[in-house]
Every structure is written in C-alpha cells, then in structure tokens.
Amino acid sequence: MNPKRLTTPWSDATVEGLRAGDLVLISGVIYGARDAAHKRLVEALERGETLPADLRGHLVYYVGPTPAKPGQVIGSAGPTTSTRMDTYTPTLLAQGLKGMIGKGYRSQPVLEAMRRHRAVYMATTGGAGALLARCFTRAEVVAYEDLGPEALFRFEVADFPAIVVNDAFGGDLYAQGKKAFSKATPG
C-alpha cells in the first residue's frame, strides 16, 4: 500500500480524501498536547481567550516526549492513549482542528464531532518513540512550559508515518481489522 504524502495545514478536501486504513506521511507543522494542555486550551476558550496556537487546519499529536539528549531535536516521541483526550476533543474540532494523532479508541461524541467538522483520527505505532523521533526536524514549547512533558508543543516533522483509524465518513480501522482476523464464533 502506497502512503499518501500530505503537508499541513489540511483543508476539508484533504480530510475527505482519506479513508480508514490509509497510510499517510505527514510533513509540516503539527502541535503536541496531552490531557493537561488540552484542559488548559479548553479552559482558555471557556474564558473567551484566544488560544496560544491557531489550530485551524492543523493536527494535534498526543505526545509527551522524553527530554532531548544534547544534539537531539527531541527525545523519544511515540503516541499516548487518545481516549484520555476525548472530553476535550470536540471543543478543539469546533475550532477547526483537522486531525488527531495518537493510539487507541475514541468516544462516540468525538467520532460524531469528526464527521460534523470534517476531521480524521490517525494512529502511529505506540512504543516506537525512538523511531518516530527521527521524523522531527524542530521542536519548541508554545505554552504551558510548567507542565514539563505535558506542555503545548509546536513541531516540524518530515514524513511522519501514521495510519487513518477513523475517517470523516464513519470508517473504523480498529473494527474492520478485528473483524477480518477474529476467529471467535459468532454469538
């Protein structure tokens, strides 16, 4: 399967061209945030503030990297479990976020918000932090530096590998993959 090379920011058309199971190689700016940064972003919106980063057309990678060694752009930087961000994600999708990268299941409200706002959910290999670190050409903290590994990051990546798990049309790689390989007798 040939991966699709896509540079950020993304449009609705980029999202509409993706289906569950598609391999993508992402280049350009992506943002990094986990639960603690998501909480602050959503609280800032509730207070009517402008976010420290314009998320329109952008992607958020759920990551809390290890500290970079001298000479490294970033330490190990694999995905964390996306499920923990479910509470906050619909709010960010309403701000124009076009995609999320992590690993693990998303909730129904997130999947519905993805369909409504045209966005995709992608996964990358959990526990492949050393391999994925090689795709980063730049990493900086944008906000919430006090959160340490949970700060809001701005990254520049080249050919960052991901796979579409949930597309904007209801496609679900987790469900499709399991169905194809399950040997359970139908109940």
């Binding site: 603690a36 990551v63 190990s76 391999l131 340490g148 399950s182």
Partner: protein, 280 residues
C-alpha cells in the same frame, strides 16, 4: 553479616533504570521476531517490523524505547544475612531512580498527589517491593511500567463457583476491552487467589518473569498456553489494526485464598516489556 554500601545500591538502581528503558530483553525480542514471521496481517507485520526497528535505534543511540519510561517498580530480594550500610535500602533505591531518570534523559511521569497532580520532577517515588530471602545477596529487578497498559488493567472478586472458566473469561475480556489502548501485542500478567490487595501484586509480579517461560505447575502452564491461544484468536492484532498477534505471552501467578473467594487481577504490559536485573 555482609554489608553493602548505600551508594552501591543507589548506583545499581540508577543503572537499571537506564538499561531497562533502552535495552529490551532478548527473551521479548525473540517473541517479537517469531510473531513477525507468523503474523498474517500485512499491516500487523509492518507494525512488528517498526517495533523491532525501534529497538535497534534505541540501542544504537542509547535512547529510551518508548517516551513513557514509566513508574519504576523495583522488586528487591534481600538476603537475611546482608544489611545496607549508610542509609535505608528504600531511600537508596529512590535515590538511584531519581538519578537514573535525570541522568538518563528519561521522562518524569510521577505526580505527588492523585488529584492535585504536581509532577515530582524526578520520577520518584519508585514502587519498591522488598522480600526477605535466605543468603547474603541483594537481587534487584526493575520494571518500568507505562501508564497506557496499566490503565487498561482490571481486577475482580469472583466466586469459587466461577472457577477456571470464570477466570478465563475475565482475562480474555480484559484484553479485548483494552484493544489498541494497551499497545498490543501485550504481555498479560494474571494474578489468581490471595486477597483484594495481594492479587494485584501477583499479576504485577508475573510481569517480571522471563518471557515465554511457563508456570512450574503443569496445570497453570497449560492454562497459560490456552489463554494465549484464545487471546490471539480475538483478532485485535498489533496496535489493534487486526491480526493474530494480540499477546506475546500470558503468565499466571497464584496464591492460597479464603474458602469463599476467588480474586483475579489482570495486569497488562505493552510490547515494550522492559525488565532489567542486577545482583549485589
């Protein structure tokens, strides 16, 4: 009575934190390689190849396998004829963990309070289990445990009538519910028996056993093999994309229990099943 210097214990713990997070054991690598050969899903094979490549990079660059360098669990077997000179064993282990996570560029993932959530800044405290054993040696086993798989772990109090079938169903259901979240292929630690508090420890202790090594009791060895086959028939596959490699290993630890009880705990470990050992 033999004595060991506090600093030697701290240094050993420091070294173990770094080694465990960078070098995956040959036992686990062997299971990953044979899974890659057997896995029928092309996507699953690709994930397993990425995992193996990631381990090669971690070793070549001395960087952590995964960004979640975990809570540091330290299992200490303390000989009854040895004492630590210059401080408490527990403090020496914590000092080693602080130094290892700082000097080894490992992530600091511990918060001091579960609700107020302030990062301790040095990954302390470690979870230290000390067991007294005969002899004058100190054996330390370090298990860095990531949060993703830990969060998908479960325990339950079954009744004796539920028996082996009930245990089996609970273990399989736990792995299936965890799906992609626990970073499969997983290692499944199962505790059976004991009490509400000890059964979780049994499941955790199963995770420091050598990968692929069966329980010494043939009854439980067979149950481990049976569970592994049933879990790999679920179809979850590497990273949950579908496939026949959902678990690398199932290990059961058991303990006597009350006549009315059948506690069961399932502690999941991701494919980065990191363990490092030292003897002093």
């Amino acid at each position: 009575m033999r004595t060991i210097a506090y600093q030697d214990v701290a240094e050993a713990a420091r070294r173990l934190c770094i080694d465990a997070n960078v070098y995956l054991g040959e036992d686990v690598l062997g299971l990953l390689r044979s899974a890659r050969e057997r896995e029928p899903s092309a996507l699953g094979q690709r994930v397993l190849e990425e995992i193996l490549e990631n381990n090669r990079i971690a070793v070549a660059e001395t960087v952590p396998i995964c960004q979640d360098t975990g809570t540091a669990f330290v299992f200490v077997e303390l000989g009854e004829e040895v004492r630590v000179d210059g401080g408490l064993l527990r403090d020496a282990v914590d000092e080693g963990v602080r130094r290892g996570y700082t000097e080894g560029y490992l992530r600091k993932s511990m918060v001091s309070d579960p609700l107020r959530r302030r990062n301790t800044g040095d990954n302390s405290p470690a979870v230290v289990h000390i067991e007294l054993v005969p002899g004058d040696r100190v054996r330390m086993t370090l298990l860095p445990k990531g949060g993703g798989a830990e969060n998908m772990s479960r325990m339950t109090m079954l009744t004796p009538a539920d028996g082996e079938g009930g245990v089996r169903a609970f273990v399989i259901e736990t792995v299936e519910r965890a799906g992609p979240n626990a970073c499969p292929p997983v290692v499944v630690g199962v505790g059976i028996g004991g009490t509400f508090d000890t059964v979780g420890f049994l499941a955790k202790r199963a995770l420091i056993r050598k990968a692929g090594e069966r329980h010494p009791d043939p009854f439980y060895a067979r149950m481990e093999e049976d569970l592994l086959a049933a879990i790999n028939a679920l179809g979850v596959g590497p990273m949950g994309y579908g496939g026949e490699t959902t678990a690398l290993d199932v290990r059961i630890e058991v303990c006597p229990c009350h006549i009315v009880s059948l506690p069961v705990a399932v502690n999941l470990q991701c494919h980065a099943a990191r363990v490092a050992r030292a003897e002093l």
